[in-house]
Amino acid sequence: MKRRKFLVSIAMTMAFAGLAVCGAKAQQSAKPANNAIALTGLPGVKDNAKGTLTVESGKLHFSYGKKSSEVNAASIEDVVTGEDTQAAVGKTVSNLSMVAPYGSGRFLALFRTKFDTLTLRYRDENGALHGVIFALPASGAEPIKKDLLAQGAHATVSEQQAAAAPANSSSKEPKQ
């Protein structure tokens, strides 16, 4: 009797494990939804709107709330990816912490998380130039760029050129 219970429990464990593995594989095969923030420039979308970014049927779709905005991949003249950082703690907490005694709050400012930027230039039906900047989780911009290029978008800087370029571009200090 004990042995039978033992075998049943092992069978159930294996069944659950199998289901879990299947679920995980199914999740991997589905195209991941890219969480993104439309920082600026997307027509009809407020700055810093949070949503998901996908490339389908020759278009870049940004879905936020119940609305969505799209840009034709063929009308995109340039796609550039970049990297930036943001405060790891929330903006309000971070600002409030600035008044903490002995500068202890400033310590929080040292903790930052990396994110990617995806910058696009495209022309509308009147030939007018638009620019859009998205923020995506780290290493989330390059797959979107590849998808866009595959669907007809253009890029002035290829990956090889980007790799050859110096990491930190020189800049001139304005004399004031």
Partner: protein, 170 residues
């Protein structure tokens, strides 16, 4: 005793004249109904793509908001050809210092981001009507891209102060 009084009187007259001069000689606003914003040029100074786009988008937005023009056209917009009294804004980056938001937050005195842009307002024939260097800065709080917002606001103010459309009352 008579001469010092006379001198003081003359000084007072001269002072009043100089003080009144700016009031009477306020710049006459050129009549312009539309503006076309060209993409920001940064040939000499390498500017990150997101800065260039942010400058352009903020500039268009601020000119629409407070520039006082009937129409604000973007770079390449074909409809601008038919616009009467069109002025074209050319902007070239002259200086850029990418600061650090982290440094600003930690020190509050260092890490400022600043950008200097030479702005030229030209008429349809290419004649320069106005040129000016405009600075955009972010000193204490906010991300580096906030410098582009500062620049855009200042440039829109310059446009507002120097040009007016027939419908706009300044």
């Amino acid at each position: 005793m008579k001469h010092p009084l006379k001198a003081i009187l003359w000084l007072a007259v001269v002072a009043v004249t100089f003080a009144a001069t700016p009031l009477s000689a306020q710049p006459v606003k050129a009549k312009v109904s539309a503006i076309q914003v060209e993409m920001i040029h940064s040939d000499e100074i390498k500017l990150p793509a997101e800065f260039q786009i942010s400058l352009y988008e903020n500039l268009v937005r601020q000119l629409e908001k407070q520039g006082g023009f009937e129409h604000v056209y973007r770079d390449g917009d074909r409809r601008a050809k038919d616009a009467a009294d069109l002025v074209v804004l050319h902007s070239t980056v002259r200086g850029f210092k990418a600061g650090s938001e982290r440094t600003r937050r930690v020190t509050t005195v260092a890490g400022a981001t600043s950008i200097t842009i030479h702005c030229e307002f030209k008429n349809a024939d290419g004649k320069v009507l106005l040129e000016k260097d405009v600075n955009g800065k972010v000193r204490f709080f906010g991300g580096n891209l906030r410098a582009t917002y500062d620049f855009a606001k200042k440039t829109a103010r310059v446009a507002h102060d120097n040009f007016s459309s027939s419908e706009h009352k300044s």
